[in-house]
Symmetry: C2
Subunit: 231 residues, 2 copies
Amino acid sequence: MTNNKKAVVLSSGGIDSTTVMAIAKDQGFHIFSLSFFYGQRHAIELECAIKIAKIFDAKRHLVLNVDLKSIGGSALTDDIEVPKIKDLQNIDNGIPVTYVPARNTIFLSYALAWAEVIGAFDIFIGVNAVDYSGYPDCRPEFITAFEKMANLATKAGVEQTSTIKIQTPLQHKTKADIIQTGIKLGVDYSITHSCYDPSPEGNACGFCDSCLLRKKGFTDAGVVDPTTYTG
Amino acid sequence: MTNNKKAVVLSSGGIDSTTVMAIAKDQGFHIFSLSFFYGQRHAIELECAIKIAKIFDAKRHLVLNVDLKSIGGSALTDDIEVPKIKDLQNIDNGIPVTYVPARNTIFLSYALAWAEVIGAFDIFIGVNAVDYSGYPDCRPEFITAFEKMANLATKAGVEQTSTIKIQTPLQHKTKADIIQTGIKLGVDYSITHSCYDPSPEGNACGFCDSCLLRKKGFTDAGVVDPTTYTG
């Protein structure tokens, strides 16, 4: 019997979404990889996402232009400086300036639209509530609420033919657990990218929230970090 | 005391969203008007939305490009013929081909992002469950689920400073009620546009679902329809 399970996987080219894609693939899903160009400083992540989609033999890789820059309100899309904090102890416990308002809501909404068109009922996203940088739209209660809404928003919900599931296999994993999971599934993390503020050559800054969490993750996992940091 | 209430109002240039804008204005909100170019056949609605934003003295009118065409799956964005049915009795009771998968979810997600950036807590959308063309994402249970999700997705939800409200003042109104409400508030419907498949000059076809619902609405309301129909 042919397996026709399809999954839309949100891919940012980073550790988390790449691990999620490996998990979806391992569960027998055909991968439909979805990335976004939203005016972010670090468009190099899109080049990584293309390579990653190829490695996981994605049926299709779609890059959507989403106009978050017109809306503004984030250091990732505006000309606000990305904080260099040099020490994880100094990560602000509030919601950081790199928060992009409603980003995961918008991304999941597009994933939902695509899932409906291709006949997929599983949407994978690499959010996790442990090393999560303080973004409200990474919390489990947000994901549960989105899933409920998704099932009311679509044909599946009206016709009750199937249920849309927002799959968050990393939800309760630390960055180290995530890396160890990926390593077991054969992920080559050298092709992934995490930095919010890379050099023009695409090297990681080493000091933004995302770089610090990445470094710590590899250290805690006891795995050599394959990243080239400029700082 | 100055009134600083801000509302994001989704504006399609049609009867419903224009009436909603009139209601929001009447309630004392400063209007932030939001429209989308999503590869729809009937981009004339965007010209109407600009005029309408001016009439209601919107603080800002934002048009976002959203890439629904890449996702496909609808007669409004694909090269699928828009059905000409000539008679409301023949409107298909199922979900029509003009349904754009997850469109309201995507539109409301952008509205949520903008609301968060400008500090608005009210998002107005002209959905109604009476003459609603069979779209799942116009139903009250969808709106309620979206609102719940929105409050978990954003800073407001985390910091519990205020509650985001998805305002649907037309939810239980017929098209005739909507038109009568708008007339009382001084809306000039000649500047609105409803047709899914207008002529190159921007005239309404007269036979798509949306034209038929518009015609019937004016007839039932006992108001002269100011629209020029080609058919």
